[in-house]
């Protein structure tokens, strides 16, 4: 789907450790997004990017940072993971001039 991959697909880490999730796309899309999905909350936007080195915060950005040094890669970093950050993380891209988004397969992160 839209050439989006996420790595790792699963990760278990301990509280207080840094974690970086990677989203990679192959089709040169300008807009990329990071969401977290938790039961009862749907998809909540963490950060998004509208170009290389251009990023902005979403509704749940506290405790997360992002970087985009190349068009194809959008990294999400948890500087010091907490148990409340246990979640499924989805990366998405916006396709073309429409607002429709296409999602990667997701990363399941468990913080113990």
């Amino acid at each position: 789907d839209a050439g989006i991959t996420q790595s790792p697909r699963h990760k278990v880490t301990e509280t207080g450790t840094p974690v970086t999730l990677r989203c990679h796309q192959t089709e040169n899309h300008r807009y990329m997004y990071w969401y977290r999905q938790d039961p009862g909350h749907g998809l909540r936007l963490i950060h998004y990017s509208y170009g290389v080195k251009d990023t902005d915060k979403g509704e749940v950005s506290d405790g997360y940072s992002v970087s985009r040094s190349k068009t194809e890669d959008f990294l999400l970093t948890l500087e010091s993971a907490t148990s409340s950050q246990t979640s499924v993380y989805f990366c998405a891209i916006r396709a073309g001039s429409s607002y429709e988004q296409y999602f990667g397969p997701g990363t399941r992160l468990t913080v113990t």
């Binding site: 909350h41 749907g42 936007l45 988004q101």
Partner: protein, 113 residues
Amino acid sequence: GQQVMQIPQYQHVQEGEDFTTYCNSSTTLSNIQWYKQRPGGHPVFLIQLVKSGEVKKQKRLTFQFGEAKKNSSLHITATQTTDVGTYFCAGKARETSGSRLTFGEGTQLTVNP
């Protein structure tokens, strides 16, 4: 900030019954989208509605956008087991810059064969 509410949260139906999920926004939307997520999968784009009062159909699925562009619905006629999953609406508020979407909490549909 913008809120998008979706009801019901869960719906269990017998195969062949109809299903409807409703989406309501706290602000006027410039467009609304619908996504489907199968269990264990990722959200998949279904459709986008842009015009006030717009109705679109995809086989057994009917999507509507309200006249005031603050609500939407998805109706499935004669559900099948392949319809199982969570259906999300997502809206872009008119006053929001960029391309941010706000997602509803989703309606989880189970279909008993």
